[in-house]
Symmetry: D2
Subunit: 306 residues, 4 copies
C-alpha cells in the first residue's frame, strides 16, 4: 500500500519535470537526463519502499555536506567543530562569501554552505589527504549499507577543472586561517566528496541513520553518537535547503539536504529516512520535482516536525 502510494506520488510529480533546469555550472552534470524521478523510504520498522527511478545513479553533491559534518564531529567532537564552523544561517546562497566588516570568521560560515563544507574537510583526520578521503568514503558506504559506492571520475574531474569559485572560497578561508593544510589537497577531497555516486536507496539509508540517531536499519549497531544526529538534523532544518530553508520548513517540515546532482536526503526523526532524485533544479538549486514529492509525502503522512 505504501509502495502504491509512492508510485502514485512519483507519477503525479513527473508533471513538474520541465519546469526546472539541470545544473550546468559543472559541465558534466549538464549531461544528465532530466526525465528521472525516484524515491526510496526506509521506515523505523526497517521496511524499504521504492518507486520510480530509485536505482539510477547520480552524484551526491551537497548532500555529502551532512556526511562531512558527521565525520568532522566523529573526529573532533561537538565543541571543537562548533568553534571552527559556525551554525547560524547566513541568509545567502550556498556559494556566497559572507564576510562582515572585511573579516571572515568562523561564525560567518556554516556546514551547509560551500565555505563551511570546505573548511570541514580540513578537520577530517588522516595522515594523508588520500587517507582522509578514504575515511569519508568508508563512512558514506557504512551509512548507506553499500560497499560499492564509488566516486564518479568524470564528474570529479569536471568539478576540479571548473571549480574556480570553490577555489576562491578555499583560498579565502586559508587567508583568514580557517583551513589548515594545503588548499589544493583540501579542495581535492571536497571535489571527490561531491562526486560520490549514489542512488535513492543510498540516501534513504543514510537519512535513516540520522533519523535513528546513529543506528543502521535492522541492526542494533550504533555507528555514531546520538548527539551528532541532533546536531546534523538541527542544521539541516535551519540551513539544509540553502536560502530556501525557511519556505521548506513551513511547507514540508522535514530536516533535509539537497544537492545540485538532483538528490534530496530527508530525515524524519524517529520515523524514517528518505532518498529522492530528480535532476532538474529550481532557482535556489534544489531538485524541483523532488521537493514537490517530499512536500506531498509530508502532508499526506503528517511528517512535519512542526
Amino acid at each position: 500500500m505504501m509502495e502504491q502510494f509512492l508510485e502514485n506520488l512519483v507519477e503525479e510529480c513527473r508533471g513538474y519535470i520541465g519546469e526546472g533546469n539541470v545544473a550546468t555550472y559543472i559541465p558534466e552534470l549538464a549531461k544528465m537526463d532530466p526525465n528521472q524521478l525516484g524515491i526510496c523510504v526506509i521506515s523505523t520498522t526497517g521496511k524499504v519502499y521504492r518507486a520510480g527511478e530509485y536505482m539510477n545513479p547520480f552524484t551526491i553533491q551537497s548532500v555529502v555536506k551532512t556526511i562531512i559534518l558527521l565525520q568532522a564531529l566523529i573526529d573532533n567532537g561537538v565543541d571543537f567543530v562548533k568553534e571552527r564552523i559556525g551554525v547560524e544561517a547566513t541568509g545567502k546562497p550556498f556559494d556566497a562569501i559572507n564576510m562582515r566588516a572585511g573579516s571572515l570568521e568562523s561564525q560567518h560560515i556554516n556546514p551547509m554552505v560551500n565555505m563551511g563544507a570546505i573548511a570541514m574537510c580540513s578537520l577530517i583526520k588522516g595522515k594523508t589527504e588520500k587517507e582522509k578521503f578514504e575515511r569519508l568514503l568508508n563512512l558514506t558506504r557504512k551509512l548507506a549499507c553499500n560497499d560499492k559506492i564509488e566516486v564518479n571520475q568524470d564528474v570529479y574531474l569536471s568539478e576540479k577543472r571548473t571549480g574556480h569559485k570553490n577555489r576562491a572560497l578555499a583560498y579565502l578561508l586559508k587567508s583568514y586561517g580557517l583551513i589548515e593544510g594545503d588548499v589544493d589537497e583540501v579542495l581535492d577531497t571536497y571535489f571527490k566528496a561531491c562526486s560520490i555516486s549514489v542512488n535513492c536507496e543510498d540516501l534513504a539509508c543514510i537519512g535513516y541513520c540520522f533519523c535513528s540517531h546513529g543506528k543502521l536499519p535492522r541492526k542494533e549497531e550504533r555507528v555514531f553518537e546520538s548527539e551528532y544526529a541532533t546536531y546534523v538534523n538541527a542544521i539541516l532544518t535551519t540551513c539544509g535547503m540553502y536560502d530556501g530553508s525557511g519556505e521548506f520548513a513551513i511547507n514540508v517540515g522535514i530536516p533535509a539536504k539537497s544537492g545540485v546532482g538532483g538528490g534530496i536526503m530527508g530525515v524524519v526523526p524517529t520515523r524514517m529516512g528518505i532518498g529522492i532524485f530528480s535532476p532538474e533544479l529550481d532557482e535556489k538549486g534544489n531538485s524541483l520535482a523532488g521537493i514537490r514529492v517530499l512536500e506531498k509525502l509530508s502532508k499526506e503522512m503528517y511528517l512535519s516536525i512542526f
Copy 2:
C-alpha cells in the same frame, strides 16, 4: 514531581544571573530587577506546572511577533502573508537592515526581525489603528486565557520616545512600498504591541496554543487554523532566537521566541507550551538564564524535535 523538577531547575539556573545584562536600549526596561527567574509549563494533558517568579509581570517585546504573525495569517491567509513578508533567515541581528543591491524586497525580511514585524502590523485588519491594536490585544488575551492583559504604558511611552531605529526601519519599508498606511500609526501599533505586559503563565498558555495547533488548554475550541501553527512553529525554529537560532536548535531543539523584556515562549509540538522569564540578556538579546533553563529542560525531558 514535575513541579519539584522545575523548582530545582530554577534554583540551579539562578547561578547564571549576573552573567548577562538587562536591556538598556529602552530606558524603561533598564529599571528591571535582574534577580528574577520563573517558569511555567502547560502540558497537553492540561496540567500547569510553575516555579520561581512565574507570576512577575514583564513586557512581551519580540515574543509578540508570533502573535502579530498569527493575526496577519488569520486576517490574510498564508499565501498573502508569505508574499508580503519573506520567510528566510536573514543571517543578521534582529534590527538589521538587510537590503541587497540597494533594494529592499519582501524576501529580505521575515516575521521575526523588526522590519518584518513592523510590516506585518500594517496587515492587521481594522478600520482605525485603534481597532487594529485592539484586535491584536484581544487575540493575545484569548491565547493566554487571560482577559486582564494590558499595555505597560511606561514602557510604551519609553519605546515611542526612543525608538528611532524602528522609526528608520518603518520609513525604509514605506519608501520601498512594503507598508501601507501612515507610518506613525503603524509604528504606534508596533510599540504598543511590544509593551504588552505578560507573565510566564501567559506565555506558556500562548505557547500551548501553538503546540496544540490552535486549541486552548482544556478546551475543544479551535482558536485558529492548524496550518498557521505549522507556519509559526517553523519560523520560530529557523529565526525565533535571532542570529542565535542555529545554536539554539542544536542545543535545545524547541521552537521558541525570545524578547528583550527577558521572556521566552517555547513550543514543543504536540507536547507542551512553555513560558520563561529572566531579565538579563546574552549578547544576542536572548534571556541568558532563560535559555539555560530551557536547554536543561529539553535535555532532561527529551523535548528536542531533532
Copy 3:
C-alpha cells in the same frame, strides 16, 4: 567668441535631450519641461558668458550639499566637521545606507551623499530651525550674488510629503547619534535647502566662489576661508557626481556637483565657475546633456585638473 563657442556647444548638445529621464521620485520634479539646456560661465577675469536657457529656474537639489558643507565648515571649522562627517567615497548610490557590521559611524557617510548632508544640516548654527535655514539661504544668496533667491514651495512640499527614504536615513542617523536635535526639524531644513530655486548664473557664481577660494566675482571681499574651498573642491572631485565620480574625473576632470533638478555646478580652480542646467538625468542621477556640455567644454578649453 567665448559666447559663440558656448552657443554652439549648447546647440550641439541639445541632441542628447531625449536619451535621459526627468527625475520622477519627487512628483513635482516630474513636471519639468525636458527641452531645456543652458550654461553660464564666470571667468576669473570677472567676465560672464551665457548660452541657452541660462535664465530658467530649477531647484538646486543636491548641489546645495556644497553650500551646506560650506556653512557647516564656517560654523564649526574643518576638524569638527571632518570628525562628524566622513570624507571617503562610499562606492554606493547617493541614497544608500552604508552601514558596516551593523554599525553606522561618521566615516561611513560623506557630505555628498544624503545621509551626510542631512547630518550636516544639524551642524548649522542657529537658535531655531528657522534661523538655521535662513542663515543657509542667506549664504546661498551671497555666494550667488542674488538676493532674490527663494525656496520653491511646491517642490518643498512635494519632497516633504514623499521623502520617506530621507526620513528613514535621518532616523537612522539619529539612532546612531549622528544627528542632534529634532529629526523632523533637521529634515525640514534639508527639504527646504534642496528646494531652493536657482538658475545657471546663480550656480556659475557659486562655483566661482569656490574656484577663487572664497572671493566673489569682481570683488575683493573674502566670503570664506581659502581652506574651506580646498575642502569642498576635493570632496566634489572624489564624490560630487555620486557613483559616477570616477568616470567623470577621467572624462571631464572638473570638480563638480550635480542635482536631480538637472543642475550641475562646476569649479575649475583658479580659472572659472560654471553653471549648467538640463532636466533629463542619466541612470546615476546626473544631468545627461549637462555632463556632455561640461565634457566638451573641458576638452576644448583644457580645463581638466589632471
Copy 4:
C-alpha cells in the same frame, strides 16, 4: 634652496617614525628597517632634488598598479580597459571583495584595488606570461629612466608563498569571467610586478612621466599618449590612497599612489613628479611619515590641485 627645504622637511618628519608599523602580511617586508625616510622631486624644468635615504631600495608594491594600468591602456586603449575594469571608488579597503547581490562585475573593481590590478595583468599583451611581465618591467625601466631595475626575488617568493588572499581574489575574478588565461600565471605576473625593486628617484621619474602627460624628463620623446596620463592621474586622485583617498585629497591634493613597501609616488600635473619612501604604514596601509612629508610639501609649495 629647494634641496635644503627638502632636507629640513625630511628631518622634521623623521619625528613621525615610530607611530606606524612596517607591513607584516608579507613576511619578507617585515624585515625592513623602519628608520628610513627619503624623497626625490623632479620638476618640469628637469631639475632633480633629493633628500634623506632617497637611494635606498624598496619594493614598489601597489605603486606598480599605475604602471600596470598604463601598460593595459597602451595595449588595449581607453574604451576597452574602462569596460573591463571599473573606475569608481569602492569605498572599501584595497583587498576587499566588492561583490553586490552575489555577483561580481567589472564596475565593482577599479585599477587601484587588488582585484582590479590582478584583472589588468591579464590585459597585458604577450605570447607568454614571461613576455608579458618583461614588457611591464621594460615599461617600468623606461618610465624610471633606469635600466637596472629588477625584481626582488626574496619578496617575490615570499608573496607567492603567502598570497592566499590574492589567490582567492584571482579565482573569484576567474569564476566571474573577469580574467582570461591561467590564474596561476596571471598571479605570478602580479606577484613579480609588486616585487619590483625601486628607489625614490625611480618613483619621482615615473611620477614625472604622468605629470608631463607622457614625456620623460629632459627629453622630447613621448612614451605614451596624453590621455592615458589623464586617466591615471584621475584614478590616483579618487582611489590612489585606498580608502584614505578622500582625506588625502583634502589635506594634500596631489594625485598619488602608495604601496605597502613604504613608497609613495606623487604626480603634480604640469609641475613635478615626486618619490617618497618610509616603511612604516598607517592603519590604511599608506606610508605614515611619507604622507606627512607630502602634506607639508604641498602646503608649503601650494601644490594642491584643488
